[in-house]
């Protein structure tokens, strides 16, 4: 397989290994493997949520959630991430129907919404740090920055992955390996939206109400 990939018809070198379908054409093994990765990632977030739950009232005389959380901003951020999940869902039927242009259009839209989400989160973080509510202020804020920051890092990595796939779509079109990669990224992206449901409920809304 590798020999074949390195020597395509016109003799130009190809810098990736053509993927050998060990299970005869299905995406099953990769999809199941990626699903198990997502489940292990969920366990990382579970431990961060548990840590946040334990120290979420340890303010050390510092600000409480009610003092620092800007719920309209969080609502806007939540809407952006949810919208990006919906636009990714719009890309998938176009991918199934082999429409490269439409797939790229919805992917670009998804990426822009995701980038806006990360931008607003960075603004929120810098605003909190400028107010003296940085991660070193109290155990509550340490846990907050760790949990929300880990989610934000995941979204950022998803964005990098999305840019890579957009470039590869231009190079390879909608080949079988490309479809498999897009299916994995869509699972990753929807998964991050699910984690964010936990974040906006447990961290922001619950923090402000209680």
């Amino acid at each position: 397989m590798t020999d074949h990939a390195l020597q395509p018809g016109d003799g130009t070198p190809v810098w990736h290994v053509a993927e050998d379908d060990h299970d005869h054409g299905g995406n099953g093994a990769t999809v199941l493997g990626f699903w198990i990765y997502l489940m292990s990632d969920a366990l990382i977030f579970a431990s961060l949520f548990a840590m946040f739950g334990v120290v979420s009232t340890a303010f050390a005389g510092g600000p409480a959630p009610r003092d620092i959380f800007d719920l309209p901003l969080v609502a806007l951020n939540t809407a952006l991430l949810l919208a990006s999940s919906i636009t990714f869902g719009q890309a998938m039927p176009h991918m199934e129907a082999n429409r490269v242009g439409a797939t790229r259009f919805w992917l670009v839209l998804t990426g822009l919404l995701g980038a806006a989400f990360v931008g607003i989160e960075l603004y929120e973080f810098s605003h909190l740090i400028a107010e003296g509510a940085g991660p070193q202020r109290s155990a509550f804020l340490s846990a907050f920055f760790t949990l929300v920051g880990t989610h934000g890092a995941h979204v950022t990595i998803g964005l990098i992955w999305m840019v890579v796939l957009l470039v590869q779509l231009g190079q390879h079109g909608l080949s079988q390996p490309m479809k498999r990669r897009l299916i994995c990224l869509s699972m990753f992206w929807h998964f991050l939206d699910i984690i964010w449901i936990g974040v906006f409920t447990f961290v922001y809304l619950f923090g402000v109400v209680r």
Binding site: G26, L32, I36, A50, V54, E96
Partner: protein
């Protein structure tokens, strides 16, 4: 995976589900997700209930409902995909997540309330 291993990708259960009946489930999921996101924010930001306990119970119930909606409508988890292994992995993960979060909070809460009072510290938990 070998049971459904024709060369055509559509033969795969997860894949077949991807192309057929999906768009309707996706639309239903989208509407439910928007409602289940807007409602808790509205409940908290306008404080319509004037009752923190009920509001908290409602926002957590809606978060759980929305997680189920996302997993079923967007991640297409069902009993058939990958021969049931995705569902099994998901259920196993759910058990561990509940044990980790619920167990940690439970144990640490009781640790706080049953500890000897710290010198000079009469304040609430984990100050």
């Amino acid at each position: 995976m070998s049971s459904s291993s024709n060369e055509g990708a559509a033969a795969h259960p997860a894949h077949a589900a991807h192309s057929s009946g999906h768009s309707r489930g996706y639309r239903v999921g989208t509407i439910l997700a928007i409602v289940l996101t807007a409602l808790p924010f509205w409940l908290v930001m306008s404080d319509v209930l004037h009752d923190a306990q009920t509001t908290i119970a409602l926002i957590f119930a809606m978060a759980l409902a929305q997680i189920v909606v996302h997993v079923v409508c967007f991640l297409h988890l069902d009993t058939r995909s990958e021969g049931g292994w995705t569902l099994l992995a998901f259920l196993f993960t759910t058990v561990i997540v509940v044990l980790t979060i619920g167990g940690s909070i439970w144990v640490m809460y009781h640790l706080n309330t049953n500890m000897m009072p710290m010198p000079g510290g009469t304040a609430g938990p984990m100050q």
